[in-house]
Symmetry: C2
Subunit: 171 residues, 2 copies
């Protein structure tokens, strides 16, 4: 830890970069690669088997978990880690499929409610088994219980830093 000490500057622009050592590099790359491969694989399998991308699937799931199967657009965007713009476009596409419908919010005339239709719920019910099987195959079946626990710990630690408000949504 004393091999190289850069001046303790408060401004990262001026300080010597805190480069990764070989072990950190390896850990970092293992994470980047595995995370991208896993998300790509799950998205592709879901899309090809059901015609629903993971992004759209997440929207349907979020709505289905609400008591009335409806949500304010902004809440839905936050829940799905989506920008408002992105969600707006996505809901338009889902409306075209007849899976979601927009409705003005009674309490706030500016707001919109996204409502999951019965057709949307049926589409979700059809897609869910496909998705859970992918997640089992490519994630849980590959891991020991200890690794699953480590994954949870790791994920929650990061989540606490990156977006503490989402930690509450884990149940």
């Amino acid at each position: 830890m004393t091999a190289y000490v850069s001046p303790a500057s408060p401004d990262p622009d001026l300080a010597e970069p805190r480069w990764l050592d070989a072990d950190e590099q390896r850990a970092w790359r293992a994470w980047v690669y595995s995370a991208q491969l896993l998300t790509d694989r799950l998205d592709r399998e879901l899309t090809h088997a059901t015609g629903i991308s993971h992004a759209y699937y997440e929207i349907l799931v979020a709505l289905s978990e609400e008591p009335e199967r409806q949500m304010r657009m902004s809440e839905l965007a936050d829940r799905c880690l989506s920008s408002r713009s992105r969600l707006s476009h996505a809901v338009s596409r889902l409306e075209e499929r007849g899976w979601v419908r927009r409705q003005v919010c009674p309490e706030d005339g500016r707001g919109q409610l996204a409502v999951l239709t019965d057709e949307g719920f049926a589409a979700l019910e059809a897609a869910a088994p496909v998705h859970v099987e992918s997640v089992r195959t490519h994630l849980f079946d590959q891991l020991t219980p200890e690794q699953v626990e480590a994954m949870r710990d790791f994920g929650e630690t990061l989540l606490q830093h990156l977006d503490p408000s989402q930690v509450r949504g884990l149940d």
Copy 2:
């Protein structure tokens, strides 16, 4: 483990879905959220500070690590977890910036070599400190050494399943 046993069918389409229990659900969500938030954050910080997206950055890094700073298009695509099409598009953009140049491969007339230019290398050198600082701030600074080790273990396990050929590239 005996509470619910579905018939052991070889065909996932016919078997009862292997739903996630509450703990698995929680671990899964923590991972999905944290992975997406982290990749989004890193990509955004890099893009805003340097004008280079993480996808483009990866291409420059891969080329810079080669002895001659050049690579066959297909090798580069594999290394960057990119489709050939995607890489071809990306290299065209990087060529427009003067950071990469295409060159026919002497050994194989079908092949192309992507070559990192001096300008491209300079752009990478300017961007690297920004990126490493983001990775430190949002990842390593948040984790204990044990969590880093668990992250590596987890990543390598998944990588071994999803794309064993990439395991060798970790160094």
